[in-house]
């Protein structure tokens, strides 16, 4: 470390501990939910409106997906939008409320105690309130609004509505005041969270992250803007029509499809114009998730078709639709981004002060690439097996698929463990002269 005048330009520096808390909680919930599915494959092979399915789904959605997305957003939003997080203290309170709330909700769903679900759900809701407030205040001071910021703001609105809809559902179960069909309410709530928060967030941040990791740029801001506008309009209409069990929901399903088609075209354009030919596994995970949007979309349109009979197959397809969306699209995308976010957090904590003074690993040196590849194929195999088996209501094949998924998540956890080991034992070596480096270094594989 030089003794002469030097200071880190600490403009948007992230707090490493905060996002890591959320992310590690999320990974623990992912492993727990996967084990649950292996032990009880009926969750996917049977009808989805049951206490056990609701409990497992909330473990997956709140414990895994929300924890990781929220943790990553505390890290990424200030950095990507070139500003500073409004309050880390509020974020720490959010973490405590979130963890207490979602664990309590899962247990109470399983016990069919809707009153307590409402109580613990209120803790989650207060936490989400702090999260939304914190990020809204952060967004309020960004230097310039763009399509990424607009998408993030939209997703925060949908998240808030989703949480309110969830509380309404719990209250309606306790006091039976709602005029809406229970299953319709559940589906409307699920779409607010799944499409409004998760997919909207993935779409928004990908306009920043895909160009960043492939050395490309957004090709048409107008097209990106249209994709967000159509997604928002489609979801608003879908929410109302799903809630009312209206046949008009097909119209809004098609509007959502149009939005995602614009999005897909933009991502393809970005990739075609990219400067970096090699795509690393993290980006491959993420892009595979985007490809999986297509079958989810087709299923969504089919299930929204007017007059579709409610038979055993269509009811199972509803389960498959939700599973493919949450475990396929959202989880695959998150795993890909975690291969970027976690190494960055660890590298920042362990090596950022040694840059330029010592030989330090690059982000890609912190984890195993063969394990990444193994995890990818295990995940894809497990996902397709479990999805097909779920549609057919085949218990044993669901279990087989979920075993592969669990294996994939264990591989992921091991790889993340390798990354985290750099927090304990940083690998810092003396510098090698640049001329020697050029002579001895081959291009990266």
């Amino acid at each position: 470390m030089p003794t002469k005048r030097a200071a880190v330009a600490d403009v948007h520096a992230p707090s490493v501990a905060l996002p890591l808390q959320f992310i590690l909680t999320g990974i623990a919930a992912l492993l727990a939910a996967s084990v649950w599915l292996v032990v009880r494959p009926i969750i996917l092979a049977g009808y989805h409106y049951s206490p056990e399915v609701l409990a497992a789904t909330h473990l997956f959605v709140l414990g895994w997906i929300c924890s990781v997305i929220m943790g990553a957003m505390y890290q990424l939003v200030p950095v990507a939008l070139e500003t500073r997080l409004h309050s880390q203290r509020l974020a720490r309170w959010h973490f405590a409320l979130h963890v207490t709330g979602f664990i309590g909700m899962v247990v109470m769903f399983h016990r069919e105690d809707m009153k307590q679900v409402g109580h613990f759900g209120s803790l989650v809701a207060i936490g989400v309130g702090l999260f939304v407030h914190n990020l809204a205040r952060t967004l309020a001071r960004i230097p310039r609004w763009n399509v990424v910021a607009a998408g993030i703001a939209s997703s925060l609105c949908w998240l808030s509505l989703s949480i309110l809809a969830g509380l309404y559902l719990a209250a309606a179960k306790c006091w039976s005041f709602s005029q809406f069909a229970p299953l319709a309410q559940l589906h409307a709530h699920a779409h607010l969270g799944g499409l409004g928060f998760f997919v909207m967030m993935i779409v928004s941040v990908s306009f920043k992250l895909v160009p960043m990791f492939t050395l490309g740029e957004v090709q048409s801001v107008r097209r990106a803007g249209w994709s967000l506008a159509l997604l928002n309009a489609g979801l608003a209409g879908a929410f109302v029509t799903v809630l009312l069990s209206s046949p008009w929901k097909i119209i809004f399903a098609l509007v959502v499809a149009a939005g995602l088609a614009f999005y897909g075209l933009e991502i393809i354009s970005i990739l075609r114009a990219r400067k970096r030919s090699r795509l690393d596994w993290g980006v491959k995970y993420f892009l595979t998730a985007l490809v999986l949007l297509a079958p989810v979309l087709v299923l969504g349109v089919v299930l929204a078709w007017p007059g579709l009979p409610a038979n055993e197959l269509t009811l199972q397809l509803e389960t498959t639709y939700g599973f493919l969306a949450l475990a396929g699209v959202v989880t695959f995308a998150i795993l890909g981004m975690l291969y970027k976010v976690v190494p960055f957090l660890v590298w920042y904590a362990s090596y950022s002060k040694a840059i330029g003074q010592s030989k330090i690993p690059a982000l890609a040196d912190l984890y195993s690439h063969p394990l990444q590849a193994a995890g990818y194929w295990l995940f894809l195999g497990g996902l397709l097996t479990a999805s097909a088996a779920s549609a057919l209501g085949h218990d044993s094949c669901v279990r087989a698929g979920c075993v592969a998924l669990l294996a994939s998540f264990v591989v992921f956890a091991v790889n993340i463990g390798m990354v985290l080991s750099h927090l304990v034992r940083p690998r810092i070596e003396p510098l090698i002269a640049h001329s020697a480096l050029q002579t001895n270094t081959r291009p990266l594989p």
Binding site: A6, A7, V8, P14, V79, A80, I355, G356, Q357, H434
Partner: protein
């Protein structure tokens, strides 16, 4: 005596950890100005909002401060002109697989 060549050589040790290539071969260094014992490095990053912004700027400062005769370093990160891959050296392109 400080000279630009030795500063560039020192900056080769500052590696963008995401891309795994040093900032000189990436073409991120736009200019170096030397005034007595003070060095001003004008540079950019591959993308605005790059998460490595502070780390790389810090690395530049440290790498140059380590040179004999340098007492002060100023790092200006600018976005105009924007970085393009045309600024990369052939070594940088080969190492990062840029088309």
């Amino acid at each position: 005596m400080i000279d630009e060549a030795s500063i560039r050589e020192a900056l080769h040790q500052v590696v963008d950890p995401e891309i795994d290539c040093n900032i000189v071969d990436l073409g991120l260094v736009y200019g170096i100005a030397i005034s007595d014992a003070k060095v001003t490095v004008t540079m950019t990053l591959t993308t605005p909002g790059c998460p490595m912004h502070e780390s790389i700027a810090w690395g530049v400062r440290c790498a140059v401060l380590n040179l004999e005769g340098v007492e002060d370093v100023e790092v200006n990160v600018v976005w105009d002109p924007p970085w393009t891959t045309d600024l990369m050296t052939s070594y940088g392109r080969e190492r990062t697989g840029v088309l």
